[in-house]
């Protein structure tokens, strides 16, 4: 099973579901998607508007890999469960977000070899543009660095709170 999560933004992110629907590699895969506010009907993809966090984590744990919009919450839910992630940033030009900031974190995490990210705009003018298919092949056949959480961060924030309480 492949789990897809589009985040909680009000803006529709239909483009990603269409890409998945039309990807020949996924023709025989079971696909479950948390679509949030995106309206989409499909025979191929099982859509659920919102999952509570237990259900969400269950799908993450039991899937082969996660296809996520470029939001921090979605990407890290997968990474912290040691799942491979294909992230697709929401783009402003398609009205999918207020700006293009999702590209930043996707690029960064891809450069650190934690995830694969797919932005059709990157290779639109190349001879062989990247597709969902090439990205999934890459995701399936490569190793990615596990992401480890920085456990000391909370106490650093707590020190800052203590400082301010005293000042």
């Amino acid at each position: 099973m492949i789990f897809v999560t589009l985040g909680t933004q009000k803006q529709s992110f239909k483009r990603l579901l269409e890409e998945i629907e039309n990807c020949p590699l996924l023709r025989n895969e079971e696909i479950i998607a948390q679509v949030g506010h995106t309206k989409y009907t499909s025979e191929k993809i099982t859509t659920i508007d919102f999952l509570d966090s237990d259900e969400f984590n269950n799908y993450i744990r039991s899937c082969e890999f996660v296809v996520a919009h470029g939001g921090v919450g979605s990407i890290f839910s997968a990474l912290l469960n040691n799942k491979k992630v294909l992230a697709v940033p929401r783009l402003k030009k398609f009205g999918e977000h207020v700006d293009n900031h999702q590209i930043e974190i996707c690029e960064k995490l891809a450069n650190m070899n934690h995830i694969v990210y797919y932005n059709p705009e990157n290779s639109a003018y190349e001879e062989k543009p990247e597709t969902m298919e090439t990205k999934i092949n890459f995701l399936r056949s490569n190793y990615f660095e596990p992401y480890t959480q920085d456990s000391s961060y909370i106490s650093k924030v707590d020190n800052a709170i203590e400082d301010l309480l005293l000042s």
Binding site: G7, T8, Q9, K10, Q11, D49, F50, D52, G71, V72, G73, S74, F76, S77, L80, G95, V98, H101, Q102, E104, I105, E107, K108, Q149, D150, S152, Y153, I154, K156, V157, D158, A160, I161, D163, L164, L165, S167
Partner: protein, 154 residues
């Protein structure tokens, strides 16, 4: 017990803020976030107060949401009266922290992990007024010298 308010928008900002929830046991806390279908059940687990959900995309509607959240922030500053406010941002967190500064509260701003190369709109305002300003990627400190890098929340 010292009063500390934790405030942010829903979605990824809340995922980041809730990483700090062990601190909820240490302080007399209040969690403030937007009411959405995903956050409405959180009041079973947390001491929570809700703001209205807004996005800059729907600008006309957002003006009303903005005013509602502004008034609610003022009420919370008076009724809860925190000493310190911690936020992981976006607009809802920003509005409350702006009000907090008007009430002479201390503000800790943590820029979202999503921001790697530049600050968010809220971050740019908070950079000027927050008492402590943290970013989660080192390269941002070069651009914004007053920002501190402590590592990453997630």
């Amino acid at each position: 017990m010292n009063k500390v308010m934790f405030v942010c928008s829903s979605g990824g900002h809340l995922t980041e803020l809730l990483k700090l929830q062990v601190l909820f046991r240490k302080y007399n806390y209040l969690l403030v976030t937007e009411e959405t279908s995903l956050t409405k059940k959180l009041n079973e687990d947390y001491k929570i107060s809700y703001m209205k959900y807004g996005s800059r995309e729907y600008i006309f509607q957002y003006i009303f949401v903005f005013i509602y959240n502004l008034i609610k922030s003022i009420i919370l500053m008076i009724t809860f009266n925190p000493k310190v406010v911690v936020t992981t941002g976006a607009h809802t967190g920003g509005i409350t922290c702006f009000i907090a500064k008007l009430f002479f509260k201390k503000v800790i701003y943590i820029e979202s992990m999503a921001k790697v190369k530049s600050l968010s709109v809220t971050g740019k305002v908070m950079y000027l007024i927050a008492d402590k300003f943290y970013v989660q990627w080192e390269e941002l400190v070069e651009k914004y010298p007053k920002a501190e890098y402590l590592g990453r929340l997630i």
